[in-house]
C-alpha cells in the first residue's frame, strides 16, 4: 500500500474520534452552509428572472427550481441515511450512528418542502392541491418513514441502542425508494414523468437547465453544512461528560 492510501485510511480513523470530528465539523459546516446559500441564491435569481417562461405552464413552472432539487434530496438523503445505518450496524462506528440520525430531520424537511411546493404547483396545473396519485402518496409515505425514524430514535433512552434500532428501521424502509423513483413509470400517474436526465438528452429546454443544476448543487452543499452541524451537536451532547467537551466550553464560561 502506498503512502497516500495510508494517509486516507488514517484520516478516516481519526475522523471517527469524537474530538477530531468536532473540530472537522466546526471547520466545514459554515462552508457548506455559506456556499450552499450562495449557490441557491444565484439559482433562484437566475430561475426567477433570466429563464423565459414556459410556453405551456407560464411562470408557474418556476417553482420547479425548488421542487425538483428537494425531491432529489428527499430520496438521496434517505439513501445516505441507510448507508450510514448499514455501516453503523456492521462496524458499530459511533460516528456513523450519529450521522445517520442527523440525516433524518434534514431529509424530513426536504420531503416536506417537496410535498408543499408540489401541492402549490399542482393547484394551477392540475386544478387540485392534492391527489392520491402514486408519486404523491409514496412521497408522503417517505415523510412518515422519516418521522418514524426520528420518533424511534427519540423514544429509546439509551442513545446507542436508539440509533441502532432507528437505523435498522431506515434500512428496512429502503425498499420504498425504488417504488417512489419508478412510481411515475409503473403506474398511470397524474404527476409528469422524468424530464431531466443526467446522461442522455433531457426533454426540457436547454435554457431552463443551468439554474436547476446550480440549485441541485446548492441544496447538496446546504445539506452537507446542516448534516455536519447537526451531527456535531449530537456528538457534543453524547460526549458531554468528557473532559475535552468541558475544555471546549471553558473559554466561553
Amino acid at each position: 500500500m502506498n503512502r497516500n492510501a495510508n494517509l486516507i485510511v488514517r484520516w478516516f480513523h481519526q475522523l471517527g474520534s469524537p474530538p477530531y470530528f468536532d473540530r472537522f465539523a466546526a471547520r466545514w459546516a459554515p462552508w457548506g452552509y455559506g456556499l450552499g446559500l450562495l449557490l441557491m441564491a444565484v439559482g433562484v435569481y437566475w430561475g426567477l428572472f433570466h429563464v423565459p417562461a414556459d410556453y405551456q405552464q407560464g411562470d408557474s413552472f418556476r417553482i420547479l427550481y425548488i421542487h425538483v432539487p428537494s425531491a432529489w434530496m428527499s430520496m438521496a438523503v434517505y439513501a445516505l441515511m441507510a448507508v450510514y445505518a448499514v455501516i453503523a450496524q456492521v462496524w458499530r462506528i459511533k460516528l456513523c450512528e450519529i450521522l445517520a440520525m442527523a440525516c433524518a430531520p434534514i431529509g424530513a424537511a426536504f420531503t416536506l418542502i417537496t410535498l408543499l411546493t408540489g401541492s402549490i404547483w399542482g393547484k394551477p396545473m392540475w386544478g387540485t392541491w392534492w391527489d392520491w396519485d402514486p408519486r404523491l402518496t409514496t412521497e408522503l409515505i417517505l415523510l412518515f418513514m422519516y418521522l418514524g425514524v426520528i420518533g424511534l430514535y427519540n423514544a429509546i433512552d439509551d442513545r446507542r441502542a436508539a440509533a441502532r434500532a432507528a437505523g435498522f428501521l431506515a434500512i428496512v424502509g429502503v425498499a420504498l425508494l425504488p417504488v417512489i423513483r419508478y412510481s411515475v413509470v409503473w403506474w398511470n400517474s397524474l404527476h409528469q414523468g422524468q424530464t431531466i436526465s443526467l446522461l442522455g438528452k433531457s426533454t426540457m429546454d436547454a435554457s431552463m437547465i443551468p439554474p436547476l443544476v446550480i440549485m441541485i448543487i446548492g441544496t447538496k452543499l446546504w445539506f452537507v453544512g446542516a448534516l455536519l452541524a447537526r451531527a456535531r451537536a449530537d456528538n457534543l451532547r453524547r460526549e458531554s461528560g468528557k473532559a475535552w467537551v468541558a475544555q471546549l466550553a471553558e473559554p466561553r464560561a
Binding site: T137, F144, L147, G148, L152, I156, A165, F168, V172
Partner: protein, 230 residues
C-alpha cells in the same frame, strides 16, 4: 450427542405453538377481542356513513380491510412484549434453533389468533355492509393473502419497539407506512372487482409480497430483537 438433546425445528415449533395455544385458552376472553374490535369498527363505519345501502356496498371492501388492519395493529404490541417481560425472549435468543424460526412461529400464532377469526367472520360482516356477493370471493382471497403479510411486517416493528417500556402510538407510526402498499393492493383488488376489472394482478402482487416477507421478515424481526434486547 448434542443432536439427541437439542430440539429440532419441528419440535421447538410444536412446543412454542402448544404453549401459546395453552396461554390463549387460559385467557380465552381476551382471544376474542380483535374480532370484537373489528365488529365495532364495522359498526362505527356503517353508522358514520349513514345507513345508505349503496354507499355501504361501495365502501364495504375498504371498511373490512381497514377493520382487519386495525385489529392486527392493536394486537401488535403484545406480540413479543409478554415474552420480553418474563425473560422468555432471552431464552429464545439462546435456544439451539434460529431466532428467526421462533419469530416465524410466533407471528403465525399472531395471525391465527387475530386475522383468522376475522377471515371466518368476514362473510358475515360483508353481509352487514351489503357487499355485493360477486366481490366476496375477491375480498376473502385478498384478506387471506394480505393479513399474513401485515402480521409479518408488523412483527418487524413490534420487535423494534420491544425494548421500550411503553410504545403506544409509536408502533402505529412505524407500522402504518409499511402497511400502505399491502392496503393499496388488498383493498384495491376489491375496488377493481367492483369495476369489473381483472384482479389477478393485484392478488399476484400480494402473493409475491407474502412469499418475500415469509423469508425476509422473520430474519429482520430477529435482527431487531437482538438490537432491542442487546
Amino acid at each position: 450427542m448434542t443432536h439427541a438433546i437439542s430440539p429440532g425445528l419441528k419440535a421447538s415449533a410444536r412446543a412454542l405453538f402448544l404453549r401459546d395455544l395453552r396461554l390463549l385458552w387460559r385467557r380465552r376472553g381476551d382471544a376474542l377481542q380483535p374480532a370484537l374490535f373489528a365488529l365495532l369498527v364495522v359498526t362505527l363505519f356503517a353508522l358514520a356513513l349513514g345507513n345508505d345501502r349503496a354507499t355501504l356496498a361501495k365502501s364495504a371492501g375498504a371498511v373490512l380491510w381497514l377493520a382487519s388492519l386495525l385489529a392486527g395493529l392493536l394486537a401488535l404490541d403484545t406480540l413479543f412484549r409478554g415474552d420480553a417481560e418474563d425473560g422468555s425472549l432471552e431464552q429464545w435468543m439462546l435456544a439451539p434453533v434460529p431466532l428467526a424460526w421462533l419469530v416465524l412461529v410466533r407471528t403465525f400464532m399472531h395471525w391465527a389468533t387475530t386475522a383468522l377469526p376475522l377471515l371466518v367472520a368476514a362473510p358475515l360482516l360483508a353481509e352487514l355492509l351489503h357487499l355485493p356477493h360477486s366481490q366476496l370471493n375477491v375480498l376473502l382471497a385478498s384478506l387471506a393473502l394480505g393479513t399474513p403479510l401485515l402480521s409479518l411486517l408488523g412483527a418487524v416493528v413490534a420487535a423494534l419497539t420491544v425494548g421500550m417500556r411503553r410504545s403506544g402510538i409509536l408502533v402505529a407510526l412505524l407500522a402504518l407506512p409499511l402497511y400502505v402498499p399491502v392496503l393499496v393492493f388488498g383493498a384495491g383488488s376489491v375496488v377493481q372487482a367492483a369495476q369489473g376489472l381483472d384482479v389477478t394482478g393485484a392478488l399476484l402482487m400480494l402473493g409475491a409480497g407474502l412469499v418475500l416477507a415469509l423469508v425476509l421478515a422473520p430474519l429482520a424481526a430477529a435482527a431487531a430483537i437482538r438490537i432491542a434486547l442487546n
